[in-house]
């Protein structure tokens, strides 16, 4: 047998006999471990690794963590979990225990940090700090990847030991750096002489620092000026700089500035007695009013200015003087120009004498700053009232003249004429003008302008020219407007239109101008606008003046109306009287009814005499009335009552105001030329009615009285009559009265008929006497009429003789009438009754 083979066989047997290595599967191990735990042979808090293939005990974990911390000084738990291959939560739990047991360690934001680590960090920081002079904690925190607060806390405990420097507002500084900054701040702050916001100061300092650092190559810039602020506070505390911080430590106010400010304020105030807030603001006093009030207790704070009480007393003296002398004063010129109006007004109201005067009502304050004595105002008002009265007087005259002028210019009715005259006779625009006028009537100044434009031509110039010489210039312009209206309104009644028209009179401007005329020094009074005092005064006075003017106008108007009424009354009276006669005489005409020729003669006669008298009376009265209304003076219109010619009457009638009145008057005048008394009577009645008067019909009683008076008068006339020719008609008339109780007006031609009419009514012998007398008179008259130059001698002789005969018979004739008259009258009366 081969040895080698045997050897191999032996080796094989050996291999077979060799003990096999025991191997446990994971599963078996897990089971074993669980079995061990079951049997309490192992601690229950056995941990698995992340892979799940390993068991680890708490002690082992702790050991490993501690080892890591010792090695690194700073371990993140997350990293720890990864390196140890253990669940993070176990690491955390263990780390907490470790940190809890070891005071040198700290667990911050998932990291375990050892004190030694901080020491090394601090050393590192110190090195950097010494190089740079300053480091931002934030930057460091970023660099070391820790929280700034944590780092600040850590650094705080090591300042002065490991770190040679100073921590200030998130910045680390070396003492040298701090000293440098301190020097800079001190220099800058000492150099400041006006209040400066600290932020700008810090900004410039930082710029400087940055420039300085450029050389050193250190880019660090101080953060938010916190260091500056602290250093400044230290400097202030140390007394190295003087001044104060204001506005929440944002503003540095140097003491030197405060002193200068106070001194300048004091100087100005003590010199001038006042100081404006603006001035204080220029000196950057933030709240001037409070500042001054605190400083000067006796001062008076106004809106824009602060005044010393001495200014008030100064004003007070002026006010007292003004009140005492019944004049006025303006506070404005007495005060410096920097005073505002409201301030001046307030000052004025503060003056004790002014207050007293206001309380007692002896003065008023106008235009805010001016004080006027009431006496002064009263005197002005008086002046204006006088003027108003004067003006009203003048105006009424002017108005009338204007109307008359206008009438003279054109034949159209008055109202239209005036308007046309306004536009200078421009008829095409007449209508427009009228409408315009209507709308402008109430407005103030426009019409005035218009009239000014046309004043060069037309009736305007004339109107204004000679007649209103004395009217004040302001009024003159308005007359064109007010005149037509006042005629219109005065015809009806004085209504609202008149009032509005009066608004234009005494406008503020006029009043102001007038006041200025009287008190020229008032012009500059008041503030701002020129003449504000005068204007306000005018405003104040205007209602009074206007009412005075209205009163004056009313008074004048009522006086005119009174006069007119009186005139109308007298006219009525006269017309009544004459018309009564007329009626009386017209009645007598009835006796001659039927005697054609005589009737005509009698009618005509009556119309010529009594009718004409009435017509004249009426026409002249109307004309005069019209003139008066138009402002003509009554004296000139009151012309003598001599009888008018037919053409005169006609023109008068045509010129009467009012179309109806005019045409009726013309009718009347025409009927006067006719033969019928009745026609005239009707026409007369119509026209008289139109004119607003009335005709009184005779009643019996009045007729009798009238007749009696007539007879009485006639009788006395007869008695006194010396002219034989004139005697006859009177005797006949008297006889007619006695016999027929009718008043006969008979012309010479109708005398014969009248005499024959008496036949049978009077005793025979009386009749014959009458007839004889009549025939003789006729002869005499015919002789006189026939007398011509050649035969003058003889006819006059014959006439004379005839006349003597007649005269000789006169007593007889007179006796005929006079003797029988009472008896006849009585008998007539009896007869009547």
């Amino acid at each position: 047998m081969d040895a080698e083979l045997q050897e191999l066989q032996r080796l094989f047997e050996q291999a077979q006999e060799a003990k096999p290595s025991v191997r446990l599967s994971d599963r078996n191990v897990v089971e074993l471990v669980s079995k061990l735990q079951e049997l309490h042979l192992l601690d229950a808090d056995l941990l698995h690794t992340v892979s799940g293939k390993e068991y680890i005990t708490q002690e082992r974990l702790k050991e490993e963590i501690e080892g890591e911390v010792c090695r690194l000084g700073r371990v993140s738990l997350v990293d720890l979990a990864a390196t140890l291959g253990v669940e993070l939560i176990h690491c955390e739990r263990q780390a907490q225990q470790i940190v809890g047991n070891n005071t040198d360690l700290s667990l911050v934001q998932g990291e375990i940090l050892a004190a030694t680590y901080w020491d090394s960090v601090a050393e590192e920081i110190n090195e950097t700090l010494q190089e740079a002079g300053q480091i931002s904690v934030g930057e460091l925190a970023r660099q070391f990847n820790v929280g700034a607060e944590l780092l600040t806390g850590v650094l705080g405990s090591r300042l002065g030991t490991l770190i040679q420097g100073k921590l200030e507002g998130g910045q680390l500084y070396t003492p040298t750096f701090v000293a440098r900054i301190r020097a800079m701040v001190r220099g800058a702050v000492r150099a400041l002489i006006i209040p400066t916001p600290l932020s700008t100061l810090w900004m410039s300092l930082q710029n400087q620092l940055r420039e300085g650092d450029d050389g050193g190559g250190v880019g660090g810039v101080t953060g938010d000026g916190g260091l500056f602020q602290t250093i400044l506070n230290q400097l202030i505390a140390d007394g190295e700089v003087t001044g104060s911080l204001r506005g929440g430590n944002a503003m540095w106010t140097p003491a030197v500035f405060v002193v200068a400010q106070r001194e300048s304020v004091e100087a100005f105030f003590s010199q001038n007695g006042y100081i404006t807030y603006d001035a204080l603001r220029k000196l950057t006093v933030p709240q001037p009013k409070q500042y001054l009030q605190a400083k000067y207790v006796d001062g008076i704070p106004l809106e824009t200015v602060f005044v010393h009480s001495s200014i008030v007393s100064q004003l007070d003296a002026a006010a007292e003087e003004a009140i005492a002398t019944n004049t006025w004063f303006d506070a404005l010129p007495l005060l410096p120009p920097s005073f505002g109006i409201s301030d001046v007004a307030k000052l004025v109201s503060l003056c004790p004498s002014v207050q007293r005067a206001l309380k007692e009502g002896v003065a008023v304050i106008l235009a805010e700053t001016c004080m006027l004595s009431n006496t002064l105002i009263r005197s002005i008002i008086e002046k204006f009232e006088n003027q108003a009265r004067e003006l009203a007087q003048k105006k009424s005259v002017i108005i009338a003249n204007v109307t008359k002028d206008a009438e003279d210019h054109s034949g159209t009715p008055p109202v239209g004429t005036e308007l046309d005259a306004d536009d200078g006779g421009d008829t095409t625009q007449g209508k427009n003008a009228r409408r315009k006028k209507g709308s402008h009537g109430v407005g103030a100044n426009k019409p005035m302008l218009e009239t000014d434009l046309v004043s060069g031509k037309g009736g305007k110039g004339k109107k204004r020219g000679p007649k209103n010489k004395h009217a004040i210039s302001g009024l003159a312009g308005e007359l064109g407007i007010s005149a037509p209206k006042s005629t219109k309104t005065s015809l009806s009644s004085k209504g609202g239109i008149a009032a509005s028209e009066d608004d234009d009179i005494f406008s503020h401007e006029d009043l102001a101008a007038k006041i200025l005329e009287w008190y020229p020094d008032m012009d500059t009074a008041g503030t701002g606008d020129e003449g504000i005092l005068v204007r306000t005064l005018a405003e104040r006075l205007r209602p009074i003046v206007v009412s005075a003017w209205l009163d004056a106008k009313h008074a004048i108007f009522s006086a005119q109306a009174e006069e007119r009424r009186r005139r109308v009354d007298s006219l009525q009276l006269k017309i009544d009287e004459v018309y009564a006669n007329f009626q009386l005489f017209a009645k007598a005409l009835d006796l001659f009814l039927g005697e054609k020729s005589t009737e005509v003669i009698l009618h005509r006669h009556l119309l010529r005499t009594t009718g004409a008298e009435i017509a004249d009376l009426f026409l002249t009265a109307q004309a005069m009335e019209q003139k008066l209304e138009e402002g003509g003076d009554a004296e000139t219109a009151q012309d003598s009552s001599e009888s008018l010619s037919t053409s005169q009457r006609l023109s008068l009638a045509k010129s009467l105001p009012g179309k109806n009145l005019s045409t009726k008057a013309v009718e009347m005048v025409e009927s006067l030329e006719g033969k019928s008394v009745d026609a005239f009577d009707n026409a007369l009645e119509a026209v008289v009615k139109e004119s607003g008067l009335r005709l009184k019909k005779l009643d019996k009683k009045a007729e009798r009285a009238l007749l009696f008076a007539y007879r009485k008068g006639l009788a006395s006339q007869v008695e006194d009559e010396t002219d034989p020719v004139a005697l006859l008609p009177k005797v006949v008339a008297l006889l007619f009265v006695q016999v027929h109780s009718r008043a006969l007006q008979a012309p010479g031609r109708a005398m014969a008929a009248a005499v024959t009419r008496l036949k049978g009514a009077v005793p025979e012998e009386s009749f014959t006497t009458l007839v004889e007398y009549h025939s003789m008179t006729v002869q005499l008259l015919s002789l006189q009429a026939a007398a011509n130059p050649e035969e003058e001698e003889c006819t006059s002789d014959r006439a004379l003789t005839k006349r003597e005969v007649l005269e000789s018979r006169m007593p007889k004739l007179k006796a005929l009438v006079l003797s029988s008259s009472p008896a006849a009258a009585i008998s007539f009366d009896n007869e009547k009754q």
Binding site: L11, A15, V22
Partner: protein, 174 residues
Amino acid sequence: MEGWDVNTKSTVAKIPLLTTRAGPRDGELWTQRRKEEFMALIKYMEMNKAKDSDWFRIAPNADGTKWKGKCWYVHNLLKYEFDLQFDIPVTYPATAPELELPELDGKTAKMYRGGKICLTIHFKPLWAKNCPRFGIAHALCLGLGPWLAAEVPHLVDTGVIQHKEKQSQSSSGP
């Protein structure tokens, strides 16, 4: 090499291959062959011991034609041990040795008459292909190992075989 599990395959690959083509009648060459067989078996045994999967003991007769020993299998923490014997055929190594478990003769269908185990259909071609490189160690690894792993649990479950301790317990117990 399909038909075997990964473990078996890797193990087989690690057993050293033989080179000598010689049977029991080849005299000197057979000795050479036997040497190689022993080297392979030693290696395989070492590997098994290292892997804690020692599962057989064998020893040859003088001329190395008959081998006897034991093999065992652990199932449910119980070790089932069987006698193992096989002859080296004359045509060896062309013919693989027929492994015998005489104890289990007649107890399972995967067995020829006389206790020779039935191998998978893959065994023979693989053996033929690897002649003369495969030896006794390979035959055990590829043949008996898988057979035991497949059959013993089945036989235990069906109750055909019983653990010896239990047998003794059940016999000596009551």
